[in-house]
């Protein structure tokens, strides 16, 4: 009698809650397993080499289960990489400046307005960025550079830059703020100017956190599908300049999966791209863990 009571008071619920917690592991592994099951088919069922997928630009998979096409996805990889790094390049100076401004310089009243405003923008749906990019940015680029159409790496890079700016800024500002006050006091006490304190003391101390922000931003840029697909032009070619259209991994999945036959070589190759994206986000997370663990050690605070 007593035992049964305790079961309902504690053990039953404990098991249930634990099950829910462990379900998260199951879910993540499940997603990974399904992606691997579908995506590895390119290499097992259709017998393509990993080398071909990553380094060949010969993309012509057959839309049936017989296979025999080619699955060189290098163009998509290069497209993803170039747009992301262009976006990061454009966003980074602004993000760092805004983060430093937020944590070190901003007078209290403007910080109260600035910080929530930036955080608000983290949540803007990417489809809106894409739509604005398509209807405003693309025509502007077209007219500015005298192109036939404005779809380009540049357009995608700008859209991604605007998108990841708030993410990097908030994470970096938090990292800067977490630097112990004593570091600043000590530097000021030695007669440093504010710029010297920022550049020589605060920024180096906050480096791991700032890196985390950059990686999170990159992660978001890599996984963005709709906004990029709307402005990149979907041309399967290596970009010769930032003004030429190209395509990306996410763009291919978003636009071609619907028409591809399930289980065919084409759709299997698209699943392989999804697997690559999954692997990349796992890699990014592990990278963040690595960076922050190292940073925690070198900080050595009392």
């Amino acid at each position: 009698m007593e035992k049964k009571h305790l079961f309902w008071k504690e053990h039953f619920w404990r098991i249930l809650i634990t099950a829910c917690g462990l379900f998260m592991i199951l879910l993540t592994l499940g997603i990974g397993a399904f992606l691997a099951y579908k995506g590895l088919g390119t290499f097992t069922t259709y017998g393509h080499s990993v080398w071909e997928f990553f380094f060949s630009s010969d993309w012509d998979p057959a839309d049936n289960t017989e296979g025999g096409g080619t699955v060189g996805a290098a163009v998509y990889l290069v497209g993803s990489l170039s747009t992301c790094f262009l976006g990061l390049l454009l966003a980074l100076p602004f993000s760092l400046a805004a983060a430093i401004f937020l944590s070190e310089i901003a007078p209290p009243w403007s910080e109260k307005f600035f910080r929530p405003a930036v955080e608000l923008f983290v949540g803007i749906p990417s489809i809106i960025y894409g739509w604005m990019g398509l209807t405003i940015l693309v025509p502007v680029i077209r007219d500015l550079f005298g192109l036939d159409h404005g779809f380009s790496v540049l357009a995608a890079g700008i859209v991604l830059a605007v998108m990841i700016f708030p993410t990097i800024t908030t994470v970096a500002a938090d990292a800067l703020r977490a630097v112990p006050k004593d570091y600043r006091r000590a530097a000021y006490g030695l007669g440093a100017t504010r710029w010297q304190v920022i550049w020589q003391v605060v920024l180096p101390a906050a480096r791991p956190g700032v890196f985390t922000g950059i990686i999170l931003g990159l992660c978001r840029a890599f996984g963005e599908a709709m906004a990029v697909a709307m402005v990149i032009g979907r041309a399967r070619q290596f970009p010769d300049s930032i003004l030429s259209p190209t395509t990306s991994l996410t763009t291919a999945i978003a636009s071609d999966m619907g028409g591809a036959m399930d289980g065919g070589e084409y759709s299997t190759a698209l699943w392989t791209m999804a697997l690559v994206l999954f692997g990349l986000s796992l890699l990014f997370i592990l990278l963040i863990h690595l960076v922050s663990r190292k940073g925690g050690k070198s900080h050595g605070r009392a």
């Binding site: 008071k9 997603i31 901003a106 803007i124 489809i127 604005m132 100017t193 999170l216 999966m257």
Partner: protein
């Protein structure tokens, strides 16, 4: 007098950089504000009541689908995410399993939404043998929401003063009774804030829904038989959300006012998302003030 020169140079540098930071930060925030204003103004230029209509020319159906889908997804991810958060804060021991669980949750939260959409398509549609449905979309969005809800819940439990737990345990309550009767009610405000934030993010989701909820919608507002494929409340009917409507306006601009509809949809979406996240912020500030008064 070399030293003096150096000091003067350092001071000049300092002043210069301060100006640079003011300008860059100001420009960035001005750009963001201009962006938001443009979206809203463009949306409401040429606004006619027909744009809100519940038919092919308006976005009423899409708006309803969006809200309904988010509601469904919170119904699934809410309990599950809160339970996972409680597990991490209260029951999980420090060990390799918990560390692995953390990495799993972080990976889940950084997954590209298109990948989650594909997974949802495979599991909730192909494997189940169904067709595009709101439910499949809601499940896919739930996967995206779970990490956020779990981490907010965990943070809420961890930031609770230790006295709550000790007092309850000291009175002879079991660990679960303490969690459910004492800690959970005290954490509820922050958890609700997390749920609102999750809802705000779910409103704008598009890539995860592309292959799960589909880009078609066919609602008959007179049909209230839940099993009918045109009944508004049937969760197993296909349902296009606002964000997918914008996506479709780009590729399949069949109707003449597609661009205007997409502009208006963007504005409505932006207002919804802003409204929810400002609401969550406001709520959490008020509740923090209230709770802060108690603990002082």
């Amino acid at each position: 007098m070399d030293v003096l020169k150096k000091i003067r140079a350092a001071k000049r540098m300092d002043r210069g950089m301060t100006v640079v930071f003011y300008v860059v930060a100001g420009a960035a925030i001005a750009l963001l504000c201009a962006f938001a204003l443009t979206v809203i103004i463009r949306g409401f230029i040429g606004f006619t009541p027909e744009l809100l209509a519940f038919n092919k020319d308006g976005i009423g159906n899409q708006l309803f689908n969006t809200v309904y889908l988010v509601f469904l997804s919170l119904l699934i991810s809410g309990p599950l995410g809160i339970a996972a958060g409680i597990y991490m804060a209260e029951y999980a021991r420090n060990g390799p399993v918990t560390r692995f669980l953390r990495i799993c949750i972080e990976t889940l939260s950084s997954l590209p939404s298109i990948v989650v959409g594909l997974f949802g398509y495979l599991v909730f549609i192909v494997l189940v043998g169904g067709r595009w449905s709101l439910m499949a979309g809601a499940l896919a969005v739930s996967i995206l929401n779970l990490p956020l809800i779990a981490t907010t819940t965990e943070d809420a439990f961890r930031s609770l003063p230790a006295g709550y737990k000790r007092g309850s345990l000291g009175l002879g309550a079991t660990h679960w009774q303490t969690i459910f009767r004492v800690m959970l009610p005290a954490c509820l405000p922050r958890i609700i804030t997390g749920l609102i934030l999750a809802a705000g993010r779910a409103f704008g989701e598009s890539a995860a829904l592309l292959y799960t909820a589909s880009t078609s919608t066919d609602i008959n507002w007179r049909s209230w038989n839940l099993a009918s494929p045109t009944c508004p409340l049937n969760p197993f009917r296909p349902g296009e959300t606002l964000s997918l409507h914008i996506w479709a306006a780009r590729t399949e601009s069949l109707s003449s006012n597609a661009e205007q509809v997409a502009n208006f949809s963007s504005a409505v979406l932006l207002i919804l998302v802003f409204g929810f996240s400002i609401g969550a912020r406001f709520l959490s500030r008020r509740l923090d003030k209230k709770m802060g008064g108690h603990s002082a």
